[in-house]
């Protein structure tokens, strides 16, 4: 009887629909306007629109999953999802572990944000950055004291409550926060250019998916849809192809 049950359970697992090409897109969901969870509880933002468009053009059936930033690469390589689309800049270190598609955002500057009116030397002060980002790497090598946080939101909160003198992050992420801070926050130093552009991260063994996505991204660059999307989400400061 036990064996019968086991056999039934196994065959139930074995059958199932034919495997459609379902591609699971992994994102952080905490980095507006790149990607965030909207009030409906769904993934939203520039990368949601971009990802859906890429999947449409490449005829892929895509679903969205969120994953903490810190473990976003390990979960990709252990196949819990098939692509990272989370504002991830292309760097040499990451490229050793995973593969990147063609870039969909050109290299864009990072900015320092601190309390308005304060005088902070960003080369010596205490600077907040998100863990495992190019900005964290930059702060660590700049001579300033680095404090790392798990989520982007916490890096800004650290500046507001005085734990850090300034935060270093993508300017596109910080700009709306500064604009809506009611004069409390301001860009306090020159922008810095670190890292390459932003691309989707894929497993190195996934050459076929990479080719499909690259075709879609190149087509979107060529017909201007990507530029329109960038302007829609990043407003005036939008980087353009």
């Amino acid at each position: 009887m036990k064996k019968l049950l086991l056999a039934a359970a196994l065959s139930a697992l074995a059958t199932g629909a034919a495997w459609a090409d379902t591609v699971r897109l992994g994102t952080e969901g905490a980095y507006p306007p790149y990607n965030f969870i909207n009030d409906k509880g769904e993934v939203d933002g520039f990368e949601r629109e971009l990802g859906d468009e890429i999947c449409k053009r490449a005829a892929l059936d895509c679903t969205w999953v969120t994953n903490e930033w810190d473990s976003i690469i390990p979960n990709l390589v252990s196949s819990n999802y098939d692509a990272i689309i989370a504002g991830m800049s292309v760097t040499a270190e990451r490229d050793e572990v995973i593969d990147f598609t063609n870039e969909y955002i050109p290299p864009s500057p990072s900015g320092y944000v601190g309390l308005a009116g304060g005088s902070v030397d960003v080369a010596k002060g205490i600077i907040a950055a998100q863990i495992n980002t190019i900005q964290a790497g930059h702060v660590a090598s700049s001579g300033a004291t680095l404090v790392e946080f798990a989520s982007p939101d916490e890096t800004v909160a650290a500046v507001k409550n005085g734990e850090a003198d300034a935060v270093l992050a993508d300017k596109d992420f910080l700009a709306p926060i500064v604009a809506e801070s009611g004069g409390m926050l301001a860009f306090i130093a020159d922008d810095v250019s670190i890292g390459g552009g932003v691309a989707l991260g894929l497993r190195e063994s996934d050459g076929e998916l990479k080719a499909k996505m690259n075709t879609a991204i190149d087509a979107m660059k060529a017909d201007g849809t990507l530029n329109t999307m960038l302007v829609k989400w990043f407003k005036d400061a939008a980087p353009q192809w």
């Binding site: 074995a14 379902t22 507006p32 572990v97």
Partner: protein
Amino acid sequence: MFEICAEPRSLEGLTWLSCYLTTPKHAAMYYSILTVLGLLLAVVPPILFLGFAGALARRSKIAPVRWLGVGYTSIVRGVPDIVFFLFFPIALDQAVEYIRHKIKCADVLEPVYQGNDFVVCQAAKMPLGIADQFYHEAWGFSLAVITFAIVFGAFTANTLHGALNAVPKGQLETARAFGMSERQTFWRVHMPQMWVYALPGLSNLWMILIKATPLLFLLGVKDIVYWAKELGGMKTQVYTYAHPDWRIWYFGALLVFYLFLTWVSQRAFDRIFARASRGLSVAS
């Protein structure tokens, strides 16, 4: 949810708040309360099972079984929880997928481990890539239950082992003098009296378990602490309901939630303790 909430930006005061607190995203947070309570209820039977198995194994007369019991409790108790929670579910997940890959895709020749990549065939994915998100979450939840059970089972085994030893020898000798068999002595005298010694330790473990539930997030299950952090963070105008950093309110609510849970638990344990110590003079 309500019709008046169609245009959130035009709302003010209490109407805004009531619309805000009933967004689907907040519903996800309320739902996560059930996830936490569900986990707490789901892990108790396997924890007690592993606890008893471990405690009895440590008392076994057969040496290898005893070593197994001691090994299990010592190793699991010695490894930091967070390391265990990071390592074990991924290892278990990969083990399951690896076995399924070997069974279902025997004809696939490419190795499963390709450099950094762990790649199994589509049919071996657990759950399948095409499965609804619900199944992915249910699978993550199951991994969480197993991991919690193994970790807390080891602590429980140690508590029960100590409690079994704490029952006065005279009680057991008396039972034997009455002519009870080994088995009768254990079930009628040893076990019922053991609870009085085990309960304080078990109630500690239960409280720690309640507070350990946020570790769920490490396993990809979105629990109430994750949602409080996510909802409480500052929201710019890109969100429908923009607001400043409100984490203090959300974490305040969390505080009340966890205090309530521990308060109810303590009352329940007081009652269980009163019941377990009926007729015993040893417990004061």
